[in-house]
């Protein structure tokens, strides 16, 4: 059956709405359920049995890209250099512990598998970055937001955001550019130049950005903010820079204007809408056979990278002066991986080698499915686990 795009988009939203409802019912985060919804109504499950299904196509891909752009835009919007500087000692200490313990594990697994350096670095990023969306949501749901453990968790997430902006810049130059190292160097220079320009605008061009997003009505303000974000993201992609990083800087620029709060309120539903499409699209693109083929690697990663986050989170909590039980909570909370691991995997998929195109995206989906459910569950039962392992 050749469905019109409108029907497909309608079916998409129906599927994520059902997925979200199920997630809430079973007390889990929505992200894995959006992904599963994509897998289920996609060509690999419904399509295989000959039922009407949603086919991957340009329309959904563009909507999903908007999801990436708005996810990162919000990361930038809520990212404050002043905040980072205000408690830089503790944030830097906890953030560095998190980085040096978790990132190398993924890289090491990649290298042991015989992958190239770039491929291994992608795996490092995927296992390193915790899920801001899921963790923040869980903090609110569990009421931990009012406790002291929320400080190191949110602080570490801010640190990760900064690392991931730099990381995506470097990695996108490595895959979006040509093959040889001199081409990579040129692309990296172009990317760096573009991003430095964006950063300069974000830091010193507040007046300009202020005028750009200053609409007379809510409607005009919404349109201006969306236009600015998507256009800069699109231009970035045109010249071989990650649209995600560009959106991050646009978010940072808007965040320093006095319209920050208005834009945040206006765009939050837009982000939620397209982010849901992004996760759905990830599921849609997932090849179940390829996912099954990576199950072994996923299992190894789960076994290795759950304890590393527990340890790094625990040490980070200790640096914030928390007791053992709360520090363990920090670790349990940081276990969840989600949206940014998938953003990194999407970037990897634009690479040239079979490992980048097939293996990494497939394993990232499996990994995120397991880690988001495992992380959310660990948070809920952290005190029980803490007592079980003999904590006082």
């Amino acid at each position: 059956m050749a469905a019109t795009p409108l029907v497909e988009v309608g079916a998409l939203f129906a599927a994520v709405a059902v997925g979200g409802a199920v997630a809430t019912r079973v007390g889990q985060s929505v992200i894995p359920f959006y992904v599963l919804a994509g897998v289920l109504v996609g060509p690999d499950v419904l399509g295989r049995v000959g039922a009407p299904h949603v086919a991957p196509g340009d329309v959904i891909t563009v909507l999903a890209e908007l999801g990436i752009v708005f996810l990162l835009f919000f990361l930038g919007l809520e990212f404050s250099i002043d905040r980072l500087l205000a408690s830089r000692d503790r944030i830097t200490a906890a953030g560095t512990i998190d980085l040096v313990i978790n990132f190398p594990v993924g890289v090491a697994v990649g290298l042991v598998l015989g992958w190239s350096a770039v491929e291994a670095l992608f795996l490092g990023g995927i296992v390193y970055i915790s899920s801001s969306a899921v963790i923040t949501k869980s903090l609110i749901d569990l009421g931990w937001i009012a406790n002291d453990e929320s400080d190191p968790m949110l602080g570490t997430l801010v640190f990760e955001d900064l690392v991931i902006a730099v990381y995506l810049t470097v990695m996108s130059a490595a895959v979006l550019g040509g093959g040889d190292s001199s081409a990579v160097a040129v692309d990296l220079a172009v990317a760096t130049g573009f991003l430095l320009a964006l950063f300069a605008v974000a830091r010193y061009g507040t007046g300009l950005v202020e005028r750009l997003v200053d609409g007379d009505t809510q409607e005009l303000q919404l349109l201006r903010a969306v236009a600015l974000t998507v256009l800069v993201g699109g231009i970035a992609l045109e010249i071989g820079v990650s649209e995600a990083v560009a959106a991050f800087f646009v978010g940072m620029a808007v965040g320093s204007t006095e319209h920050s709060d208005d834009v945040e309120h206006l765009l939050m539903p837009v982000r939620d809408l397209f982010a849901a499409v992004f996760f759905f699209w990830i599921g849609l693109e997932t090849n179940l056979a390829a996912m099954a083929a990576t199950a072994g690697i996923v299992a190894v990663l789960v076994v290795l990278t759950t304890p590393t986050k527990l340890v790094s989170g625990y040490l980070g909590g200790r640096r914030y002066g928390l007791d053992g039980r709360r520090s363990f909570r920090v670790g349990a909370g940081m276990v969840t991986r989600g949206e940014f691991s998938l953003v990194i995997a999407t970037l990897a998929a634009s690479g040239a080698t079979p490992i980048l195109r097939e293996t990494i995206p497939s394993l990232a989906v499996g990994y995120v499915l397991v880690m988001s459910v495992l992380g959310t569950t660990l948070m809920t039962y952290s005190d029980v686990v803490w007592r079980r392992i003999g904590g006082a």
Partner: protein, 161 residues
């Protein structure tokens, strides 16, 4: 009384207020406007959620708590007590006030009443630390520090009584 404020990136802001006993009141203001109130019975305990309010409701409840509708302690206006003998009050400059159009220096508010004007609210904007050459306009709201008697003086002085 100590109030601790901290940022919650991606969520909003957190305010912690020490209560008289060991416990602490925790207010989380979400970027969405939602307010959540928690109580932490002692430093080691987990915060227990008391209730949550929408932005609008929180403002209404806040105004009631502030005493804008009913002041149990005898006072005529909204005021903030700094210490036994000094408080902050908000005084409106009536349209026909004799001081309207004069500078702070010419009006001689401090000399006449003893109260000091620390800020002027005008058309939704606040002029902090107004200098002696600041001109008072009709409909201004003066934010003044002084004793209760000085505030009474100020009010009648501004009204031209």
């Amino acid at each position: 009384m100590a109030v601790y404020e901290s940022d919650l990136p991606g969520v909003g802001k957190k305010f912690e207020v020490d209560l008289d006993d060991e416990s602490r009141l925790v207010v989380v203001i979400h970027n969405t406007g939602k307010r959540e109130l928690f109580i932490r019975p002692d430093p080691d305990a987990d915060s227990e959620k008391l209730f949550e309010l929408s932005d609008k409701l929180a403002r209404q409840v806040g105004t009631i708590m502030e005493g804008a509708y009913f002041q149990p302690i005898k006072t005529d206006d909204i005021e903030t007590v700094l210490s036994e003998e000094s408080l902050i009050e908000w005084v409106k400059v009536p349209a026909e006030s004799p001081v309207a159009g004069e500078t702070l220096e010419d009006a001689g508010i401090r000399e006449e009443t003893g109260a000091s004007v620390v800020a002027i609210q005008r058309d939704g904007e606040t002029i902090t630390n107004p200098g002696p050459d600041t001109t008072l306009m009709p409909e201004d709201t003066l934010v003044a520090v002084g004793s209760r008697e000085e505030h009474d003086e100020l009010e009648s002085f501004v009204a031209g009584e």
